[in-house]
């Protein structure tokens, strides 16, 4: 469960996200839609505790992100499954090492236990054959899959976050990534936040939808509510 209560976020003294209030219940996927530069990634940084709220607070499973101590923040982050824009895979590591990195760092599993889990995760995303390849040798879609597998490494994530998981992919690959996100959702049953600017992908993965424009939320609701919205920004978005 993620709650945004009147949250404002930004960099330095520049306010990017303004007074946002949102609630994502357990097991639900909220899609954040908006043009580039509207503050979508900034919102995710707030959830990750990479930015402090100027005002308001973000509460994840009862914990107020801003009030965590440095150590609590580290262990909190360890339990967030984050899929970065473009994947952000570690170039110098193989696919297997990327997926196993978290386990290697934060558990005392043996090498063979880690390898078994890595293989399991990679077969879940359909990339077991790529285990020894480097990110540079993967296509865009494969990179996103590996990034999703890497984000799933903690067995009990608090939430899953996806930053533009389908941007730059062809429609066919996009659809398969969306299906994968749904599968992950079924597997973990936690709250998920998916950022995208593609409406079709949004409807594929989301239960709830919200539109961001210049750092403020325009409309929030399920597919029905969104479709019925008379807000001109949303109407333009739906018409594209």
């Amino acid at each position: 469960m993620i709650e945004f209560e009147n949250v404002s976020l930004g960099y330095g003294d520049k306010v990017i996200v303004r007074e946002i209030t949102l609630e994502i219940p357990d097991g639900k996927t909220l899609v954040i839609l908006g043009g580039s530069g509207s503050g979508k990634s900034t919102l995710l940084k707030g959830v990750l505790g990479l930015l402090h709220c100027f005002s308001g607070r973000i509460v994840v499973n009862g914990a107020v992100v801003d009030s965590l101590t440095q150590n609590e923040l580290l262990s909190y982050r360890q339990r967030i499954g984050m899929v970065f824009q473009e994947g952000a895979l570690f170039d110098s590591m193989t696919v297997g090492e990327n997926v196993g990195f978290w386990l290697w760092e934060h558990t005392d599993m043996t090498d063979s236990e880690i390898e078994a889990r890595v293989r399991l995760l990679l077969s879940f995303v359909g990339l077991i054959d790529a285990i020894n390849l480097y990110p540079g040798e993967l296509s865009g879609g494969m990179k996103r899959r590996v990034a999703i597998a890497r984000a799933m490494a903690p067995q009990d994530p608090l939430v899953m976050l996806y930053d533009e998981p389908t941007t730059g992919l062809d429609p066919f690959t996009s659809k398969s990534i969306c299906d994968l996100i749904r599968q992950v959702q079924k597997e973990f049953g936690v709250s998920s936040l998916v950022v995208t600017h593609d409406l079709q992908d949004a409807f594929r993965v989301g239960d709830l939808f919200t539109f961001v424009k210049d750092g403020t939320l325009v409309v929030t609701g399920d597919r029905d509510a969104i479709s019925k919205s008379t807000d001109p920004f949303v109407r333009t978005f739906l018409a594209i």
Partner: protein, 252 residues
């Protein structure tokens, strides 16, 4: 402007402090070995070539100056002294800054631009721990070794010129070299590469880590890092020379 400088100094010191702490509390042997191989072993050929030609040239120039004074016999001592004290570590480090500092700055800068650094912190690992500490440690360990190789090659280059151009018998050259290998000179020759190895790698990491503005900025960041490393190496060289001269006087 001044405030920016102070801020940079502060964040640089913090980075180094944390890196030093991680080297002790969370030693990453695998990363360190990889970096030692890349920074150290990978640099042997260029240090080899640069030092050889520096030695050849130095002997050539000194011989021209010294011959009229009938001081050719001193050539071995002069060449070896300047190589061990100064030219060896400086030459090797400057060549290394072109290879290692630029390599680190562009690699780390690219990691920054593609969110890999952010991904590390989100996965609960301090980037200074995973990225910076192993590189600085490898620089500090490998640079002295490379420097010794470079010194040897430079002195050997001097011998070639002494023998072929100045017609100094090899034993005479070598006895001059031995005279140059005094304790103060060797300490000088060991401390400098240690410090330079630190500068080479830490400057590369620092610029890479604070690279902002996406992939397009990585090139500019890299250039800045190399220039900064080269300048700091020369400044440090002067300061260490001065310090050790004060310590030991002019002996050696």
């Amino acid at each position: 402007m001044l405030l920016d400088l102070l801020e940079s100094i502060q964040s640089f010191s913090l980075m180094v402090y944390h890196a030093a702490r991680y080297c002790v509390t969370n030693f990453r042997s695998r990363e360190v070995l990889i970096q030692m191989d890349r920074i150290g072993v990978g640099s042997v050929p260029i240090v080899f070539l640069a030092s050889l030609f520096a030695g050849l040239d130095m002997a050539l120039q000194f011989e021209v100056v010294m011959a009229p004074y009938g001081a050719k016999a001193l050539l071995g001592k002069v060449v070896a002294t300047s190589i061990v004290r100064d030219m060896g570590p400086v030459m090797a480090s400057l060549v290394m800054s072109a290879r290692v500092t630029s390599g680190i700055a562009s690699e780390v800068g690219m990691m920054q631009a593609t969110s890999q650094i952010e991904a590390l912190s989100v996965m609960g690992v301090d980037p200074v721990d995973q990225i910076v500490a192993p590189r600085i440690l490898s620089g500090i360990v490998m640079m002295p070794i490379l420097s010794v190789i470079g010194d040897f090659l430079g002195i050997f280059g001097g011998l070639v010129i002494a023998f072929l151009a100045a017609h100094i018998p090899a034993p005479l050259y070598w006895s001059g070299v031995r005279e140059a290998l005094t304790l103060p000179n060797m300490v000088n020759g060991a401390v400098k590469p240690l410090v330079f190895g630190f500068i080479l790698t830490s400057v590369g990491c620092f610029y890479g880590m604070k690279a902002g503005g996406g992939a397009a900025m990585v090139g500019r960041t890299t250039t800045r890092a190399v220039v900064a490393a080269a300048v700091w190496i020369l400044v440090a060289n002067f300061l260490i020379s001065k310090l050790l001269l004060n310590l030991w006087g002019n002996e050696g």
